[in-house]
């Protein structure tokens, strides 16, 4: 879900940008430009182990801010992240990177996306 949307969006956003140097360059683009256009804010924290795993942390994720911040809906929250996972995956695949994206929510408006790059 969201895969095709991600592809389309990335196609449009990267139309006027220079060619990317490497993987990290692409991830930075996703965290800054892509995230700003879609969610009106940047990713708060990007971490990587330089072996193909990136963790994107958003402390105030747009799709979760409308829900109560307590523990009440914690178990339902991941459903709202599935689309975004697809979005990231589709975007990356259009830029030539195959990946697996998973999301987790530990406390309410914050969430983490883990991106695992699949080497071809």
């Amino acid at each position: 879900m969201g895969f095709r949307v991600g592809q389309g969006l990335i196609e449009r956003f990267t139309k006027d940008t220079a060619r990317f140097k490497d993987e990290l360059d692409i991830m930075k683009f996703i965290c800054k430009d892509f995230w700003t256009t879609v969610f009106k804010k940047q990713i708060d924290n990007l971490r990587t182990n330089h072996q193909g795993i990136y963790v994107l942390q958003d402390n105030k994720f747009r799709l979760l801010t409308q829900m109560s911040a307590g523990k009440q809906y914690l178990e339902h929250a991941p459903k709202y992240l599935a689309f975004t996972c697809g979005l990231i995956r589709g975007g990356l695949s259009n830029l030539g990177i195959k990946s697996i994206v998973t999301a987790e929510v530990s406390s309410m408006p914050a969430c983490k996306f883990q991106v695992m790059i699949q080497k071809m």
Partner: protein, 109 residues
Amino acid sequence: TVHTSLDVVDEKISAMGKALVDQRELYLGLLYPTEDYKVYGYVTNSKVKFVMVVDSSNTALRDNEIRSMFRKLHNSYTDIMCNPFYNPGDRIHSRAFDTMVNSMMMQVC
């Protein structure tokens, strides 16, 4: 001609990754001239390659014009990609795209 030019495209891109950091434009410029044709290339960030073959005798086309033609081509390709009913990789059946390409051809001929 088109197929050999794809090799040149690959060469240019891999060379670009190493040395020329600031010169990372989507437009690749003249790939190579032959006796009858000139071949120009353009690669998008999503690794889609556009190749344009121009008659050598057509001197009216400057580098800048080719660049803006590629721009236009890329713009309408983007529109197609954003069409939810189009599956990436399929053949393009789009009236808007066809008319755009045709009008571009009319302009230069």
